[in-house]
C-alpha cells in the first residue's frame, strides 16, 4: 500500500525524512514517516485532522524532538544541528505566529533584528515585505485589528524575512474565506517561483492540486500514498460533472447519448439520486458534454462539478475510510460558470 520515492540520484533533495516516529503516550502521532521534497518544489502533505501533519511540521522545524528516525533539511540534521537549521527555514502555522499586540511593521522589524539584520536593513526589509504583501496601509496598526487574511499574509511575510530556503506551511488557508485563500495561494506560488522549497500540509485536495507538484497522503501517522499529483489524480479520478435533467425520466436517455459519443471516461457515467455523474478528465470534455446535451435538446435543471473530497481520495487509494470524515469540495463558482455556458 505504501509507495515511497527513493532519493533522486542527483541529490537535489531539500527535505529527507526516514522512519520518523513521535509518540504521545499511547498515541502514535508519527508512526514511521518517509518522505522527500525535491529542491525548489512543493510537496503537499494531505491528510485529515489528527493524521500527524502538524506533528511532522513541528519535528521538521525543531519545535519537538522525534522519538526515532531521521530528518535532514537543507543539509542539516533536525536533531543534531537545530541551530544551523533554524537559519534556513521559515514556518507559517495554522495559528498566526506573530505578536498580536504589536503593529505589523514592528513584528517584521523585530524578526529582522532577531535574524541579525542591521537596523537599517531590518527597516528596509519590513517596508519591502509589507509592500509586497499589500499590508503597507496597515503597517502601523496592531495585528489584533487585522482580518484573518491580513494576519496570514503578515505571517507569510514574517517567514520570508530571513529568505529561507525551505518553508513549512501548516494548513495555510484553514479558516480563510475563498477570496483570501486565493490571495494566500498566489503568494505561495510567487515564493516557489523564487526558488523556495515548500512543505505544505493541507486537508484539501484542491489546495494540494493548486500548489503542489507531488503529494504524500498520510493518515494515523503513516504514509498511505505518494507520488506526482497527476498520477494520484489519475488513480483517484479527476472532477465529476453532475447533471440533473428537468425531467428525471430522461436520465438513462442522457447517459446513453453520452456513451455513444465515445469520449474518454464518459462511458463511466453513473446515475443516482436523480442525477447523472460524469467523470471529467479534461476541460474540453465539459464543453463537449454540455454541447452535446444542448444539441440533443435535453432540459437541464442543475449542473455542477466537484473535485474528489479527501474522503474519496482515501477511499480510492486505500479502499478504506480516513480516520476522520472530511467535507467534499463543492464549487459554486464552477456551477455558475457552467450554468452560463449551458444557457
Amino acid at each position: 500500500m505504501t509507495r515511497i520515492d527513493t532519493i533522486p540520484a542527483d541529490g537535489t533533495t531539500a527535505v529527507t525524512v526516514r522512519g520518523l516516529v513521535k509518540h504521545y503516550g499511547a498515541t502514535k502521532a508519527l508512526d514511521g514517516v518517509d518522505l522527500d521534497v525535491r529542491e525548489g518544489t512543493v510537496l503537499g502533505v494531505l491528510g485529515p485532522n489528527g493524521a500527524g501533519k502538524t506533528t511532522l511540521v513541528r519535528c521538521l522545524s525543531t519545535l519537538i524532538l522525534p522519538d526515532a528516525g531521521t530528518a535532514v533539511v537543507a543539509g542539516y540534521d533536525v536533531v543534531r544541528q537545530p541551530r544551523q537549521l533554524r537559519r534556513t527555514i521559515g514556518l507559517t502555522g495554522q495559528y498566526a505566529s506573530v505578536d498580536e499586540k504589536l503593529a505589523g511593521w514592528e513584528n517584521l522589524y523585530m524578526i529582522g533584528r532577531l535574524l541579525d539584520l542591521s537596523r537599517t536593513a531590518a527597516r528596509r526589509r519590513a517596508d519591502e515585505l509589507l509592500e509586497r504583501f499589500s499590508l503597507t496601509e496597515a503597517a502601523k496598526r496592531p495585528v489584533l485589528q487585522y482580518s484573518g487574511g491580513m494576519r496570514r499574509r503578515l505571517d507569510l511575510a514574517a517567514s520570508m524575512i530571513g529568505r529561507p530556503s525551505v518553508l513549512y506551511l501548516d494548513e495555510p488557508t484553514t479558516g480563510l474565506d475563498p477570496r483570501t485563500r486565493n490571495e494566500v495561494w498566489a503568494e505561495v506560488k510567487r515564493m516557489v517561483a523564487e526558488g523556495v522549497t515548500v512543505l505544505l500540509t493541507t486537508q484539501y485536495m484542491e489546495e494540494a492540486e493548486q500548489l503542489a507538484s507531488e503529494l504524500t497522503v498520510i493518515d494515523r501517522g503513516r504514509v498511505v500514498a505518494g507520488g506526482k499529483v497527476d498520477e494520484l489524480k489519475a488513480r483517484v479520478g479527476g472532477r465529476t460533472l453532475e447533471i440533473r435533467p428537468t425531467d428525471s425520466g430522461q436520465l438513462t436517455e442522457m447517459a446513453r447519448a453520452l456513451s455513444e459519443t465515445g469520449l474518454d471516461g464518459v462511458a463511466g457515467s453513473q446515475i443516482h439520486d436523480g442525477m447523472l455523474f460524469v467523470p471529467i478528465l479534461a476541460d474540453e470534455q465539459l464543453t463537449a458534454v454540455i454541447g452535446l446535451l444542448g444539441a440533443r435538446g435535453f432540459d437541464i435543471a442543475h449542473i455542477g462539478t466537484h473535485l474528489p473530497s479527501l474522503d474519496e481520495v482515501f477511499l480510492a487509494i486505500t479502499g478504506e475510510k480516513s480516520s476522520e470524515q472530511a467535507d467534499g469540495t463543492h464549487h459554486d463558482a464552477d456551477d455558475a460558470q457552467l450554468k452560463g455556458a449551458a444557457a
Binding site: G11, T16, R18, G19, H23, R58, S61, T62, L63, I64, L65, P66, D67, A68, G69, T70, V72, A74, G75, Y76, D77, V79, R80, Q81, R83, Q84, R86, R87, T88, I89, L91, G93, Y95, A96, S97, V98, D99, E100, K101, L102, A103, E106, M110, I111, R113, L114, L115, D116, P142, L144, A158, G162, R163, P164, S165
Partner: protein
C-alpha cells in the same frame, strides 16, 4: 518510549557535511555550530525587550500594578497601621520604617507578572516563531526580565515620591539609597526565575496568580516589612529571621536611615544568588523542552 533517546542519533543514512549541501544564500555568516555570539545575543535581547515594551504601549492597563500599587499600599499602611505601630501622630516616623521595606514587597509583586506573561506567550503562536529562529532560547526570558526590572524601577520611583510626600526622611547618602534600590532590583530579578518556572509549569496565566498569592502572603506579612517582629510569637520570629524579605527590608532600611547593614546585605546577596542558580537553569531547560 524507552528507545526514544537511543535511536534518534543512531541512524542517519548518509551524514551530509552541511558546508557542501548548504546553498548559503541566506543570512550573514555565523560561527561554526551555529553558536550565538555575545553581541548577537545582546541584539536579540534588545529586539525582544523592545517587543515587551511595545506590548505595554498597546495595553497600558498592564501598568496599573506598577503605577497604583506603591500609592495604594503606602497610603493604606501608613494611615491604617501607622498610628498603631508607631503611636498616634507618629505616622511620618512609620513612613521611614515602611518605605524601604515596601520595595521588597513591590519587587515580589512585580516579579509575579513575568510568570503570567510567559504563560500567555505560550498560549499564542508567537512563541513557536521565536523557537524556530536562530536565537538563544534564554534571550526570550532575559528580555522579559529586563523589561520587568524597568517596571520595577518605575514602581520604586513612585514609592519614593509618595514616601517623600508623607514625610520619608533619608539619613544617609544618595549612594546608599541607590545601593538599596539596586539590592531590591537584584532580589526581585532572582524571584522572577521562580515565577518563570511557575509560568512554564501551570496551564493558565490565572493559575500563576493563584499559585503566586499562596506563596506571597505568608512571605510578605511574616517578615519585618510592615512591623518590627519583636511583638511576634517566638516561632514566627524564627520564621521572619530566616525570611529573605526581612533581610532585604532590613538591609534597605539600614541603607536609608543608617545602622548596621552588613549581615542583611550579605544575606540578601546570598539569597539572590542561590535562588537564581537554583531556578534559572531549570527554567531555561523547561523553556527549551516545552512544546
Amino acid at each position: 518510549m524507552s528507545t526514544a533517546t537511543t535511536t534518534k542519533t543512531a541512524e542517519l543514512p548518509e551524514p551530509t557535511p552541511p558546508s557542501t549541501t548548504r546553498t548559503g544564500k541566506s543570512g550573514p555568516a555565523v560561527a561554526d555550530e551555529g553558536r550565538i555570539g555575545v553581541r548577537a545575543n545582546l541584539r536579540h535581547i534588545g529586539a525582544l525587550a523592545r517587543r515587551n515594551a511595545l506590548q505595554i504601549k498597546q495595553d497600558p492597563e498592564s501598568m496599573f500594578d506598577v503605577l497604583l500599587m506603591p500609592i495604594v499600599f503606602t497610603l493604606l499602611f501608613v494611615f491604617v497601621f501607622g498610628g498603631a505601630v508607631a503611636g498616634k501622630g507618629n505616622q511620618s516616623e512609620y513612613v521611614s520604617y515602611l518605605v524601604p521595606g515596601l520595595m521588597a514587597m513591590m519587587g515580589l509583586n512585580v516579579s509575579m507578572a513575568v510568570g503570567s506573561g510567559i504563560n500567555e506567550d505560550f498560549q499564542k503562536g508567537v512563541m513557536d516563531r521565536f523557537r524556530t529562529m536562530p536565537i538563544a532560547r534564554s534571550s526570550v526570558l532575559i528580555a522579559k526580565i529586563v523589561v520587568e526590572i524597568g517596571r520595577m524601577m518605575i514602581a520604586f520611583a513612585i514609592l519614593l515620591i509618595v514616601g517623600f510626600i508623607l514625610g520619608l526622611s533619608i539619613e544617609t547618602s544618595a549612594l546608599e539609597v541607590l545601593a538599596a534600590i539596586g539590592l531590591s532590583l537584584l532580589f526581585g530579578a532572582s524571584l522572577m526565575w521562580i515565577f518563570i518556572l511557575i509560568g512554564l509549569s501551570v496551564k493558565t496565566a490565572q493559575a500563576v496568580q493563584g499559585v503566586g498569592i499562596v506563596v506571597l502572603m505568608p512571605l510578605q506579612f511574616g517578615s519585618s516589612i510592615f512591623t518590627p517582629p519583636t511583638t511576634m510569637p517566638g516561632w514566627l520570629q524564627t520564621f521572619t529571621d530566616y525570611n529573605p524579605l526581612s533581610n532585604l527590608a532590613d538591609a534597605a532600611r539600614g541603607l536609608f536611615i543608617g545602622g548596621p547593614v552588613a549581615h542583611d546585605l550579605l544575606m540578601t546577596l546570598a539569597w539572590s544568588a542561590v535562588i537564581t542558580l537554583a531556578t534559572a537553569p531549570i527554567a531555561v531547560a523547561k523553556f527549551r523542552k516545552k512544546t
